[in-house]
Symmetry: C2
Subunit: 115 residues, 2 copies
DNA sequence: TCTATATACCTAATAAACCTAGGTAGGTGA
DNA sequence: TCACCTACCTAGGTTTATTAGGTATATAGA
C-alpha cells in the first residue's frame, strides 16, 4: 500500500500502543497489526522480535511464558510503568510530528489537491 | 523536539514539496526546512545532498548551476513532471499513513474505546 | 508413517536511510 | 592573516527494517 519507509520509527510506538491495551504475544502482534491496518502494511517477524527484545532490554515491557494446552507455548509481553510513560511521550511526539508535516505539506496548492 | 526517527522516510516527500513551490538550492533547503519546522528538526547536509542526488538520478528533479555576483555558485534544483506525479502520490501515501496511525493510536486513554 | 500446514519462537545477512565528521572553495571583515 | 559564512560534497558508522532462512509443537491427510 504505502511506502514502508514512512513507518520507520513508528514501530515501537505501535507496539507499546498495542501492549497498552492488553498483554499480547509476538505472533499475535503480527497478525493483529496486519488486521488493524486494513492491509496497509505488515510488521514482519524479522522486525517485530528484535524490536520487542530491545524494548524488553530497556525495561519498557516485560515478558512471561504461558504454556498452551495445544500448540507451542506463548511468550506474552506486558507494558511496564516506564513503558506507559514512554508511550505517552511518543504519542505526543507523533502528534507534534504530524502537525509539523501538515504545516509543511498542507499549506501549498500547487496542483489542486482536493480529493 | 520530537524524535528524529519519525522523520525517516519523509525526507524525500519534504524535499519534493519544497521544490514544488519553487526552485531551490541545497543549502537553502537546509536552512528553509530548519526555519519552517520551528526548530522541530533539521535535515543535515549529510542527509540532504545524497537525497537530492538520488532524486536527480531518478529524474524526479533536475539541476542547473547559477553563478552569483558574490559568494560561491549555487546548484539549483527544479522539480520535473515525474517529480510532481511522485509528489502527489507521496502526499497521498502520507495522508493514508497518518489516517492509519490515528486509527491505531487515536484513543490515547486506553480503556474507553467507544466511537 | 511421512508430509504438509499452522502456530510460535528466533536470528544472520543484507538493504536503506540517516548522522557524524570531516573536506573543498569563494568571499567578507577584523 | 585568521575567522566566519556561504555552498558544495562524501566516507564511514549507526540504526531500523526486510529477506530468508532455522527450530519446535501439533494436527490433518496421503
Amino acid at each position: 500500500m504505502f511506502n514502508r519507509e514512512l513507518v520507520k520509527g513508528s514501530t515501537s510506538l505501535l507496539l507499546l500502543q498495542m501492549l497498552g491495551d492488553r498483554d499480547m504475544y509476538g505472533y499475535e502482534l503480527v497478525k493483529e497489526l496486519e488486521a488493524r491496518s486494513g492491509n496497509g502494511f505488515t510488521v514482519k517477524e524479522g522486525t517485530l522480535y528484535p524490536a520487542l527484545h530491545k524494548l524488553e532490554k530497556q525495561e519498557y515491557i516485560e515478558c512471561y511464558w504461558q504454556e498452551q494446552e495445544k500448540g507451542p507455548a506463548r511468550k506474552y509481553y506486558r507494558i511496564t510503568d516506564e513503558g506507559r510513560e514512554l508511550l505517552k511521550e511518543k504519542t505526543r511526539e507523533w502528534q507534534d510530528f504530524v502537525q509539523m508535516m501538515n504545516k509543511m505539506i498542507g499549506r501549498t496548492d500547487h496542483g489542486t489537491a482536493e480529493e
